[in-house]
Symmetry: C2
Subunit: 221 residues, 2 copies
DNA sequence: AAAACTGAACTGAACCGTATAGTAACTGCA
DNA sequence: TGCAGTTACTATACGGTTCAGTTCAGTTTT
């Protein structure tokens, strides 16, 4: 019987000299399973996905799948939790850190532009977002993990920008508003095929958004 | 064999004096099927829903279900297309028309408040939104129908408000931005359980949103 | 030898859609 | 009014398929 690690994430290196060749091979298979599961779950959603197809997509026998993950739910959880950080950091993390302009307003514009073209730069992100929303009742802890990571990676970073622009008082709310308007547009235009119903000029949208949300904190009325 | 109306929407009144008693009875059963389907699909999503459970929830035999709808897809389409207008008009339609203040800024505030408490006032709307997003690849025309109706019911109405506030030029974009920020907050806080991760002060959010998005159209920079 | 994997068969259950046999209600005609 | 014909429905069962998860004998790799 296989070691039935099965769903947990026990990494058990027991030797001084790194992972043995067997362990490396096993981890490689495990990764193959996750890759196959990614294709399957992103394409069909949770309920309509088949473990046989996962095994086939991974180029692995079904027994191997169940050797690494206890059941369908465990595999799904492992996959999505791995994807949360990965997808978000590709959107707000490394690449955003790479070349964001120093001037805050310009940084906002650049960030908005990157988000709004995520359909091209991160096509898997849309499928992932759909999956998280679709399964937010069946797997609430997955949605929470996603949001917690989004708080750190997205809201945190943007809040810092707004503190430099409009003072600390409303910075976090402004950041949420900024992110919200962007994510919403992606959702409607790209995920729900709004492009084919009522296309929106993304540049104009982003420009107006940056301008409005950067307004000084004066309190009229 | 039943007439196999089956999925289409052929209403065939052949008499002068309204629907016959048989037809009334039949329509009543059809509505029962739709009600059962609503419970089932909203709770389990499309793939995980069972036609047997739909029939049971409707208090109807399975043959009756298939007498009224050709197959699972046809039932799902009929249900969701019926729900699109229903859900949206409850959110932006009659109730919004009923008591919206005359002063535009106040109207915006009222609209925002109503949207942000939709979790209490329209609990089914969240499940419906999740369903639309989850099945936006399998049933793209459903998503488009939803968006088209949202354009008329939501964006259209709000655009008129912004024309009264900030001039016609950017009114539509402002309306999209306004709606987007609201829908996004609902999505994150209510659908994805963000309340339990990082709760947001909705009143402050709405107030800041109204203030920023009502700013005069001056063009600095 | 031992761990990990393969391939294939298998179980038990759920599901979709159809079919059948029988029942209750309504309609039109006498 | 009475009676046959039609319509919609119920209950049940069935065929065919799919699926999650298990088992096991055999093979590769260390």
């Amino acid at each position: 019987m296989p070691p039935a690690d099965a769903g947990g994430d026990a990494a058990v290196p027991r030797n001084t000299s790194g992972p043995s060749a067997r362990e490396r091979r096993s981890q490689h298979k495990r990764q193959a399973v996750l890759d196959g599961a990614r294709r399957e779950f992103l394409q069909h959603g949770y309920a309509a996905s088949s473990m046989d197809r996962v095994a086939a997509a991974a180029g692995v026998s079904k027994a191997t799948v169940y050797g690494h993950f206890a059941d369908k739910q465990a595999l799904f959880r492992a996959l999505t939790e791995a994807m949360v950080g990965e997808r978000l950091s590709e959107l707000f993390g490394a690449s955003a850190q790479q070349a964001l302009p120093a001037e805050p307003a310009a940084a906002l514009r650049e960030l908005a532009a990157r988000c709004l073209e995520c359909r091209h730069s991160q096509p898997q992100f849309l499928d992932f977002l759909r999956l998280v929303i679709a399964e937010s009742e069946r797997f609430p802890e997955l949605a929470k993990t996603f949001l917690a990571q989004l708080e750190r990676t997205g809201v945190g970073r943007v809040t810092a920008l707004f503190e430099a622009i409009a003072g600390a008082a409303e910075a976090e709310l402004r950041a949420r508003l900024f992110m919200g308007a962007l994510v919403h547009l992606i959702l409607m235009q790209d995920l729900l095929h709004g492009r084919e119903v009522a296309p929106v000029d993304r540049e104009a949208y982003a420009e107006l958004l940056v301008r409005l949300v950067s307004a000084p904190p004066g309190t009229p009325g």
